[in-house]
C-alpha cells in the first residue's frame, strides 16, 4: 500500500518524458495523453486521501534506505489534502487549456506535467533538501509555462520572476547549509528530534537558518513586502498558467505550516515557534496591500492578481495564529482561495477574449456576447473572493474572525479583515459594473456556434466546487480540524518516519 505514495511523483514524471519523446508535434495525441494522465492522478489522489483519512502517517522510503539516511516521502492528512487539491485544479485547468491555449507555444503539456511533479513532490517529501529539489522542479517548469505564448511583455516579466526565484533558491541553500551545519541532518522528523537538543551556543545560528528558510517561503507565498514579483508575473502569464499558479503561492503557505508545525513546533525548546511572531504583522500588511491593489486595478488581470495577494493575506492571518483553530481555518481558506483565484483568472480570460477593442482594461466598451452567463459566473466568483454570503469566502472569513477571537490582536485582525472586505467589495463591484453594464455599441465576441463550450463549462464547474465547499463546510471543517490536530502533534509523524531506524530493511521483500 505504501508504494502508492510515490505514484503522484512518478506518474507526471513518466508522462512528461513520454510527451517530450513521442509524437511531440501531434497536439491531439498530446492532449489525450495529458488529460488521461491527469485523470489518473486525480484517481490516485482520491485513493491516497482515503488512505490518509485514518489519521496514521505513512512513509515511503526511497530505495528502501532507512531514515534519516535516505529520502522519505510522507503521506499524512495535510499532504493528502494538498495532493487532491492540486490534482483536481490541474484537471480543470488542463481541460480549459485544451480548448486552444495549449497550441500557442510548444511543450505546454510536458511542462504542465513537470509542474505537477514538482508540486506533488513538494507536498509529499519529508526532507528539507528534497523539498528544495522539488521546489526547483516546480519552478523550472513554471518558468517555461510562464513564457508560454511568448511576447516581449512575458519575457520581461519572466526575467524578473526567474531572478527573484533564483535569489530565493540561494537563500534556501544558505538556510539548508546552516541547519545541516548545526544539526547534522535534513530529515524533517529527525530535525524535530535534534532541534530541541541543540547546544545553547549554536542556537543563534540555527535561529538564523530557520528565519532564512521562512524568508524563502515568504517570497513564495508573496508576503508583503516580498510580493512585488506576483502581480507582474501573474498578469503577464497566459490564463491557464496564471490559474495554475494560484496553487504556487499556496506551496509557500504549505511549507510554512509543515516546517514550523513539525520541526519548530511547540516541542522545539528554545526555538519553538521561531517564525510565528513574524507571520501575523506581515499577513496584515499583505491583506492591506492586496486590498489597495484591488482598488487601484486598471485592468481585469491586475484585479485577479491582487485578489491572490489579498487572499494570501487572509490565509496567512489564519496561519499566524498557529493553533488548531487557526490552522483549521487556514486549510479551509487555502482550498477556497485556490479555487476562487483560479476561477477568477479563467473568467477574466473569457471576458477579455470577447472584449475585442478594450481587452482587459477597466474602461467602458462594447457589450460582449454570452454576457448573462459570464456575468453570473463573475458575480459568483467575486462573491466568493470578497467573502460575502452565501459562498465559501464568507464562511472562511467568519472562521478567521472566530479563530482570532481569543488572540490578543483580535481587534486588529477584525479591523483589517472587515476593512479589506469592504475595499474588495467596492473594487469587484466597480469592475463588474464597468465590464457588464457600462457598455455602448455593437455586441462583440464569438457566438455560441463558433466558440468551444468547454472553457465556460470548466469555469462553471469550478464555481460549483466553490458552492460545494460552502454547502459541505461542516464536514470539510471537521476534516481540516483533524488535519490541524495531527500537524500540531508531530509525535506520530516522527515515529512513522524514524520508527524503524535501527532495523535495516530486509533485501527481498
Amino acid at each position: 500500500m505504501t508504494n502508492w505514495i510515490i505514484a503522484p511523483a512518478i506518474l507526471p514524471a513518466l508522462t512528461a518524458a513520454l510527451l517530450i519523446l513521442v509524437r511531440r508535434r501531434d497536439i491531439r495525441m498530446q492532449r489525450i495523453v495529458s488529460v488521461v494522465a491527469t485523470l489518473a492522478l486525480v484517481g490516485i489522489a482520491i485513493f491516497l486521501y482515503h488512505l490518509a483519512s485514518d489519521g496514521e502517517p505513512r512513509v515511503y522510503r526511497v530505495g528502501a534506505w532507512p531514515a534519516p539516511f535516505g529520502i522519505v516521502l510522507v503521506l499524512d492528512r495535510l499532504s493528502a489534502t494538498m495532493l487532491l487539491l492540486a490534482a483536481a485544479l490541474a484537471l480543470a485547468i488542463l481541460v480549459y487549456a485544451v480548448a486552444g491555449w495549449d497550441e500557442r507555444g510548444r511543450h505546454f503539456h510536458a511542462l504542465f506535467q513537470f509542474q505537477l511533479l514538482g508540486l506533488n513532490g513538494a507536498f509529499l517529501t519529508g526532507d528539507i533538501f528534497n523539498l528544495f529539489v522539488f521546489f526547483e522542479v516546480m519552478l523550472i517548469a513554471s518558468y517555461g509555462l510562464m513564457l508560454h505564448g511568448g511576447g516581449a511583455r512575458r519575457l520581461g516579466a519572466g526575467f524578473q520572476y526567474v531572478a527573484i526565484n533564483l535569489v530565493a533558491s540561494t537563500l534556501f541553500l544558505i538556510a539548508i547549509g546552516l541547519i545541516y551545519g548545526i544539526t547534522g541532518t535534513l530529515n524533517m522528523a529527525d530535525l524535530a528530534v535534534k532541534v530541541p537538543q541543540v547546544a545553547a551556543g549554536n542556537e543563534a545560528l540555527l535561529r538564523t537558518g530557520a528565519l532564512l528558510l521562512f524568508l524563502v517561503f515568504a517570497i513564495k507565498a508573496a508576503f508583503v513586502p516580498l510580493h512585488w514579483w506576483l502581480p507582474g508575473t501573474y498578469s503577464s502569464a497566459s490564463a491557464p498558467v496564471a490559474a495554475l499558479f494560484a496553487i504556487m503561492t499556496k506551496v509557500g503557505a504549505y511549507a510554512i505550516i509543515r516546517v514550523y508545525g513539525t520541526i519548530f513546533g511547540a516541542d522545539a525548546g528554545a526555538l519553538a515557534g521561531v517564525a510565528v511572531p513574524w507571520i501575523l504583522p506581515a499577513a496584515l500588511a499583505t491583506l492591506l496591500v492586496g486590498a489597495i491593489g484591488l482598488l487601484a486595478s486598471r485592468t481585469l488581470l491586475d484585479l485577479a492578481s491582487f485578489n491572490i495577494v489579498a487572499s494570501m493575506g487572509t490565509l496567512l492571518i489564519a496561519i499566524g495564529l498557529f493553533d488548531v483553530d487557526g490552522l483549521t481555518t487556514a486549510l479551509y481558506y487555502l482550498v477556497h482561495s485556490t479555487l476562487t483565484g483560479a476561477a477568477l483568472f479563467l473568467i477574466v480570460d473569457l471576458i477579455t477574449t470577447r472584449r475585442i477593442e478594450r481587452g482587459d482594461a477597466l474602461i467602458p466598451g462594447h457589450p460582449i456576447r454570452q454576457a448573462p452567463i459570464l456575468g453570473a459566473l463573475f458575480f459568483l466568483t467575486a462573491l466568493a473572493a470578497v467573502g460575502l454570503p452565501p459562498l465559501s469566502g464568507f464562511i472562511g472569513k467568519l472562521l478567521v474572525l472566530d479563530a482570532a477571537y481569543e488572540s490578543p490582536q483580535a481587534g486588529l485582525i477584525w479591523l483589517f479583515v472587515l476593512g479589506a472586505s469592504l475595499m474588495m467589495t467596492i473594487a469587484f463591484a466597480r469592475a463588474g459594473s464597468i465590464v457588464f453594464w457600462n457598455t455602448v455599441g455593437r455586441t462583440t465576441g464569438p457566438t455560441w456556434a463558433t466558440m468551444p463550450i468547454s472553457p465556460i463549462v470548466v469555469v462553471a464547474l469550478l464555481v460549483c466546487a466553490i458552492a460545494l465547499l460552502s454547502i459541505f463546510a461542516g464536514p470539510a471543517v471537521e476534516a481540516f480540524h483533524a488535519t490541524a490536530e495531527q500537524l500540531l502533534a508531530p509525535a506520530d509523524y516522527i515515529d512513522a518516519v524514524l520508527g524503524s531506524t535501527n532495523v535495516m530493511p530486509s533485501t527481498g521483500h
Binding site: L155, G156, G158, Q160, S169, T170, L173, G177, L178, Y180
Partner: protein, 117 residues
C-alpha cells in the same frame, strides 16, 4: 583557512547583492552567478573545513562529511541550468525590445507616453 573561506563567501555575496540591484539584466545575471558561487562554497563549509581526509568512514576514524559535497553537486547542477535559462531569457528579451533593462515592457507608462514611442 577559515578566515580565507569566510571572507571569500562574504566578498562574493556582497558583490553579488550589489550587482543584483542594478538596472540592466547583464549585471543582474553576473550577480546571481556570484551569489550561487558564494552559496556553493558556504554549503561546502557546512560539513566543517578539514584537510587531507577521505569522504568515507574508515578504520582510521577521521573522515570528512560527504553529504555537503553531494548537496553542493546538486546545487551546482541546478544553478548552472538556471543561469543558462536566465541568460537565454535576457537575450531573447534584449532582441525583442532592443534594450537591456530589467523592467516589464509597457508597464508604468501612461497611455500618451506609450503612443509617443
Amino acid at each position: 583557512m577559515e578566515l580565507l573561506v569566510a571572507s571569500a563567501v562574504g566578498l562574493m555575496t556582497a558583490v553579488g547583492v550589489y550587482l543584483l540591484l542594478q538596472r540592466r539584466t547583464f549585471p543582474i545575471i553576473i550577480g546571481l552567478t556570484l551569489l550561487s558561487y558564494a552559496v556553493n562554497v558556504f554549503l561546502f563549509s557546512a560539513g566543517r573545513l578539514v584537510v587531507n581526509l577521505p569522504p568515507i568512514i574508515s578504520d582510521a576514524g577521521a573522515y570528512t562529511d560527504p553529504l555537503p559535497q553531494a548537496l553542493v553537486l546538486t546545487a551546482i547542477v541546478i544553478s548552472f541550468g538556471m543561469t543558462a535559462l536566465i541568460v537565454v531569457l535576457a537575450l531573447r528579451s534584449f532582441l525583442e525590445t532592443e534594450n537591456d533593462n530589467a523592467d516589464i515592457p509597457g508597464e508604468d507608462l501612461a497611455p500618451e507616453a506609450e503612443a509617443d514611442r
